[in-house]
Assembly symmetry: C2
Amino acid sequence: MSADGDALDEVTPELVQRIEDALADDRRDEVRSLLADMSAAGQADVLEQVSEAQRDALVDILKGDLDPEALTELDEEVLEDVLDQLDSKEIAAAAHELEADDAASILEELPEDERREVLAELPADERADIERALSYPEGSAGRMMQRSLVKVPQSWSVGRVIDYCREAGDLPDDVYDLFVIDRSGRLRGSVPLGRMLRSKRPVQILDIVDPDIPSVPVTADQAEVAHLFRDQNLVSCPVVDDKGRLVGVIMVDDVVDVIDEEAEEDLLKMGGVGIDDMHAGTVRTVRLRGVWLAVNLLTAVIASLVIGQFEDAIEKIVALAVLMPIVASMGGNAGTQTVTVAVRALAMGELTPANALRFIAKEFAVGGLNGILFALLMGGAVVAWYHDWRLGAVIGAAMICNLTAAALAGTLIPIGLQKFGVDPAVSSTVFLTTVTDVIGFLAFLGLATLFLL
Amino acid sequence: MSADGDALDEVTPELVQRIEDALADDRRDEVRSLLADMSAAGQADVLEQVSEAQRDALVDILKGDLDPEALTELDEEVLEDVLDQLDSKEIAAAAHELEADDAASILEELPEDERREVLAELPADERADIERALSYPEGSAGRMMQRSLVKVPQSWSVGRVIDYCREAGDLPDDVYDLFVIDRSGRLRGSVPLGRMLRSKRPVQILDIVDPDIPSVPVTADQAEVAHLFRDQNLVSCPVVDDKGRLVGVIMVDDVVDVIDEEAEEDLLKMGGVGIDDMHAGTVRTVRLRGVWLAVNLLTAVIASLVIGQFEDAIEKIVALAVLMPIVASMGGNAGTQTVTVAVRALAMGELTPANALRFIAKEFAVGGLNGILFALLMGGAVVAWYHDWRLGAVIGAAMICNLTAAALAGTLIPIGLQKFGVDPAVSSTVFLTTVTDVIGFLAFLGLATLFLL
């Protein structure tokens, strides 16, 4: 090969179409030949893009030609579906090909009894590794790490290490650092392979070791691990137990998955959907989204109750009903801007107690200034529209109230939720729109009642 | 060191407070000692968390103690602010310490004339490297790649490569693969360092080379590059020119930055804010967000015009004004769920022409089913509340209309925008809420006019 730009889009819509056509006509050999030589990521892409029935047929045709790595690339809902099509022996054969951490991430999707059956099919040492990985809590460094790494005693020389690697012959291709340990197995530092390669054989390992490398405890949360990799531009990071002993290593590609997952989670949560929404079945999606819509319905009903208090005013001045959604909607939009910035800043560790006051003050100023701006704009428009300067003044004043309230709610709600251990991405917008709807209708209809009736 | 879990949060709020106190009392030596030994990421964290005035004072105190790497970690707005405090010589000194790609990413923030001054301070070869990086379009593989890499002729043996690395002595610590080229400089493949280390000296490089490695053209977009790294779990990827010649290498840590940036962009755009919002000044923020709010105001006014058509109905049945925001808001929320899933799926390449119809059909079904569900719920509540079964039937029917419309708009709008080359993350929600507000008010008030008056 040389320049292989085509790898950038291995799975084209046309290819998926050809596979679907071949499936429809039950041309099994053609399906197999289209998928067998594909990369793991490509196979996973195809499995995610076809319908559930087509997916089942595909897995049935592929079986042994399914790259075990493809399983690790699948979204959870799709993975469960594929695993349903495989028996314990087939899943065990796949797990056997994978690193223990990847195998564990697949086996955790199985029901308890089927997982036991799969584990029973595996050699004792692999079973032990996978069970150890499964013993760490989901989303912890222990679950992310792989145990295959190269550790060398601190007393060795470069030559001895190289000879050891050549003899052992089990140095994996994706090792980038050797780890140096003391006699009790505690991590003393690391040596990048490049430095090893350019050092002369008699040099002592201790003379070229980096002693100041970051490491993470086995219990660390995956978000913290991702933060560390990001900050320090790491490619791999050793994992230590509570005694400082080296137990595994986390590689950057697993961290990329975590970063993707967390970014996706925040985006989807803010939009009121769950992480597996895209691949969940219709009924399950209806249920999951329905819960969120029900919470929002409550918000809308509260807002209606507020409006209900002003039926008299609306009956007398029907223009109030025409204009009131504008005030509420502008507050909701301005508040969403603030909440979005706050949620992202909290997730990235950029909004902390050290700068929270400054952040709130800025949002308050922005909300107030935009409030004045749109008060003038909308007030002017209403005066021109209804030839009633008092109505214009009321909508302007309500706009300022609501945009200021939106700024305060948009900062205080996510910060408060985070403080009480609630994920601000999930519930901030519901609380926010409750505030902006209630304040919006209350300010506009209340001021109208006071000054226009 | 051993287990250094503390590296996980180097910059605590308490530390920022101490720095701010020291700044307030002008204890410059204390400030310097607090920051000088910090990691680059730590310094960047502090610079982002203090106020603009404090930041200027900090840069003034630090100067030479500022880690050039810290500049590469700063958000754009903060970076511009810091660069304002440094003269050309100081910026050139920092650029001198950095890889050409990182230096270019900093210099691109400078105005044309100051950039020229800085470049003039640099040695000719570094200047040429940075200028070459700047010649590639922003966001391209050419801009991301670094030029320092190790390439070896395909005719060499392992021993000769090792000797070359030892003699040249310029093998950087962060090299993980050696690249093999033919006589015209074209990429022939790569050898992971680990494999090099465990191979015996007489082995020929061509016998251990991976010929089937992915590479990217120098013009590839950074989003495509990120996609490739993600799919193939790469740590580094060679970059080739249009003749297939090796010109650079992209490392995974730069890709992590891109992934972060793109995820952040999508989240912030959906929330109606720009990427640098958090660190922009108040006035700039007011202006940027104001534009978005003005667009939304237009939407709200269109909705009001619809309501205005039904003033008679509202005057006769004021309950319509009380209930109408519920229909519009439920449509908006259901539509936002659909848009969020669609935007993310489009960004990740999971929603393609191959499965678009299936995606739309599912969303339509979900919208319809949730519409029926909430029609029953809300219709029942209205009957209980107002003792008017016809009003309940009208709100129920309007709910079904609007949630179905929301599902269609929520899928068709982002897919359509993407087709016409418009970023769906930016403008989908505005179009969506226009649809759900208009359909919501129109269906509810229209049906009420037909059946209740």
